[in-house]
């Protein structure tokens, strides 16, 4: 039953024409941002423009000449190099950018590179997964570049409350007369950003602990397992409430608390899937070789439990997202005037009674992203399970 193997599912090589276009598009996007925001005048941006394009050509030429092993590393090297070079060239203006925008841009670029790298897989993705990917990409780009694309500032009051949709305020205004469109964009940035960081943290903590428990067994497993059991026995909403009340609802404490609560769920999954891996012989072989714990985790276990973890990441991200909105609803989430979708729904919820759809927008935004992420996760899981046979 073995089929002729045409390539590893996760190391597929991108078709060169697409990679060129994609990277060029990313660079072009970056440049437009440059021209709009960084370069004080058009002419001073020209060298940057020329440089980036010349550089892209060199990178791509080099890249396509390489075999695919190096491609992954090249992506990372390229990414780093490019940012360093841009930073050097435009240091004075660059430093004025908010860090989150930089981070966001890095993320956008990373997405593009990932798309290029896994183009072969993407091409086979079903339509629903494509839809999900596009939704996620749009959200990431919007979130990353919020200060640039939003017509107004986050808390600026630009009109009377509940204005109708107009040219000036694309989606009307909210309960305080702030531009709804702007708030939506910023809300996405805040909510998505916080949910993303929270989930990431939960995975780092919970995932590591889970793998550790599986790898070490014995009392470590017991202690961690019991601890998680206890934490899970307290309903998360309630524990979150208590802790947030004690430490206050600042964004860092929100992130830490939710991450801690979510880490328990991640722990369980990570432990369960790691358990399946640690009994495999290659792990035994590595530990017989005398490899340390860290190597076992990093090189032997982690790469093999990544697919289910990534899938879980998507789902957890959605849950965190909904959890945050729930907390906002109870007034414990992200505090005003910072825009977030949960409290935007809540702030405008009374409108629903009068059949107004304004509160639908942020709720729809939440739902759209959740659905998108789930589609991608479904596809990913499908692929990952396909790997087994």
């Amino acid at each position: 039953m073995t089929m002729p193997l045409t390539g590893n599912t996760f190391g597929g090589q991108a078709s060169p024409w697409f990679s060129r276009i994609a990277v060029a598009a990313v660079h072009f996007f970056l440049l437009v941002l440059f021209l709009q925001n960084v370069a004080a005048d058009f002419w001073s941006a020209i060298p940057g423009f020329i440089f980036i394009h010349a550089y892209s050509i060199v990178v791509l030429a080099y890249w396509s000449s390489l075999d695919r092993t190096a491609a992954g590393d090249t992506v990372i090297v390229t990414l780093t190099l490019e940012f360093v070079l841009i930073a050097l060239l435009f240091w004075d203006r660059f430093s004025a950018w908010p860090w989150s925008t930089l981070f966001g841009l890095a993320l956008v670029q990373f997405c593009a590179f990932a798309a290029v790298r896994y183009w072969k897989d993407l091409r086979q993705a079903p339509r629903s997964a494509w839809f999900g990917l596009i939704v996620i990409l749009v959200y990431v780009m919007v979130a990353a570049t919020a200060p640039i694309i939003a017509p107004f500032s986050e808390t600026e009051i630009v009109g009377s409350e509940y204005d109708v949709w107009s040219n000036k305020n694309l989606l009307g205004t909210d309960n305080l007369g702030r531009d709804m469109f702007t708030r939506l964009i910023y809300g996405g940035r805040n909510t998505v950003g916080i949910a993303f960081i929270t989930t990431l943290l939960a995975f780092v903590v919970g995932g590591l602990a889970g793998i550790l428990a599986a790898a070490m067994r014995g009392w470590v497993d017991q202690v961690l397992g019991r601890l998680v059991d206890i934490l899970m026995a307290i309903p998360s909403f309630i524990l979150a409430r208590l802790i947030l009340t004690i430490v206050g609802t600042s964004v860092p404490s929100l992130i830490l608390v939710i991450a801690l609560l979510d880490a328990t769920r991640v722990f369980r999954l990570a432990r369960a899937v790691s358990m399946n891996v640690v009994v495999l012989e290659f792990v035994e072989a590595a530990s017989l070789r005398g490899e340390g714990l860290w190597w076992l985790i990093k090189s032997e276990i982690l790469p093999n439990i990544l697919p289910p973890l990534v899938a879980e990441f998507g789902l957890r991200f959605c849950f965190v997202f909904l959890f945050l909105s729930g907390l906002s609803f109870l007034g414990l989430g992200i505090q005003p005037p910072t825009a977030d979708w949960g409290s935007m729904v809540r702030d405008n919820a009374t409108l629903i009674t009068y059949g107004d759809i304004t509160p639908l927008l942020p709720a729809g935004a939440i739902a759209l992203l959740t659905i998108g992420v789930n589609f991608v996760v479904d596809w990913f899981l499908h692929k990952a399970s396909g790997l087994k046979d």
Binding site: S128, R226, D229, I230, M232, A233, I234, P235, S236, F237, I238, L239, R241, L242, I243, T245, I246, C318, L322, S325, G326, F329, L330, G342, V345, R346, A349, I352, T353, G355, P359, A363, I366, A367, L368, L369, T370, I371, N374, D378, S385, D389
Partner: protein, 318 residues
């Protein structure tokens, strides 16, 4: 069977330990909250004298560890204590709320669980069909909206526009059973929408997971009908994960419905808990947390026992 008894005993003992630590954690958390019961009750009008008098009467002036030990000691003797606020016996105060919460959970579960499982089975049977995709998208959307938003939309459509259900669940114990069900309909529906997707997807996945196994192939080669293959051969073997996810959702229906209670003014445990935290009514907070933790422990135990019962390998060892 003795194996099950042993497991139950072991898990119950562990559960007790868990409960003990939970009570300790909750107590510490509430202690760490700014302000205490007296200040919370008196609010803006608190003066040092009245607060002191309050504390004296309620024994709040004792050091925390002493209060905890007393509480624990009384607890062990079956005395749940009284609410600081109303001086009512907790068993009476909580009993009513718990009953409401369980009622809501039961109504939601009665709708949600059969619905989810049958949707999941159908989706597995007609996988990759239009029906499958449609159910998938619909259920996904239903969990993708925040809970309170689903609630508001249901109110708008079913209460405001169509007027079939009341907008708030004003229930009391003198109501008849069906009247109670009627008034609980909207919150139950909200909860159903929130948790069906999860259960349905798990049912579908668990069944599909098994479809590649040799015994399913064998069943197909025996010339059995697809329905029979799914129901007789796949479903019984997929029960363990399904039971787990169902139980997880049941636990959620009991402990995680604060938002729905707020929106529908449903007098359940969640509201009581939130209120009691706000006013630092420690005995009530403790008791609620213990009930929640106990629900979790017991339901988990139930899931394990049911999983064992559904698995002949464990039920009938060689």
């Amino acid at each position: 069977m003795s194996q099950i008894a042993k497991l139950v005993a072991q898990r119950l003992a562990l559960g007790l330990l868990t409960l003990f630590i939970v009570s300790l954690i909750i107590f510490l958390c509430v202690e760490m909250l700014p302000g205490n019961f007296s200040e919370a009750i008196l609010g803006q009008s608190a003066t040092p004298e009245t607060v002191a008098a309050f504390n004296r009467e309620l024994g709040l002036d004792l050091p925390p560890h002493e209060r905890y030990v007393t509480w624990l000691f009384n607890m062990l003797q079956g005395d749940f204590g009284r609410s600081l606020a109303s001086k009512r016996e907790l068993s009476e105060l909580l009993g009513y709320r718990l009953e409401n919460t369980l009622f809501l959970a039961a109504v939601a579960a009665v709708i949600a669980v059969p619905l989810a499982v049958s949707l999941g089975v159908l989706a597995a049977l007609y996988r990759e069909s239009f029906y499958d995709r449609a159910v998938n998208v619909v259920t996904l959307s239903s969990i993708s909206f925040p809970e309170f938003f689903v609630a508001y939309i249901l109110i708008l459509v079913l209460a405001q526009n169509m007027g079939v259900f009341p907008a708030i669940s004003n229930i009391s114990d003198e109501l008849g059973f069906w009247e109670k069900v009627y008034r609980t309909a909207l919150p139950a529906l909200t909860l159903t929408l929130v948790c069906v997707a999860h259960m349905m997807r798990m049912t579908r996945a668990a069944i599909i997971n098994l479809l590649a196994s040799p015994y399913i192939e064998m069943a197909r080669l025996k010339g059995l009908r697809p329905t029979r293959i799914i129901l007789k051969h796949a479903l019984p073997n997929a029960l363990a994960p399904i039971i787990n996810v169902v139980v997880l959702n049941l636990a959620y229906l009991v402990v995680g419905v604060v938002l729905v209670e707020v929106v529908f003014v449903y007098p359940g445990l969640g509201q009581l808990f939130v209120d009691s935290v706000r006013s630092r009514d420690i005995p009530v907070v403790q008791a609620c947390s213990l009930i929640f933790a106990m629900t979790y422990v017991l339901l988990n135990l139930l899931a394990d026992v049911l999983s064992i019962m559904s698995n002949p390998r464990l039920l009938h060892p060689r």
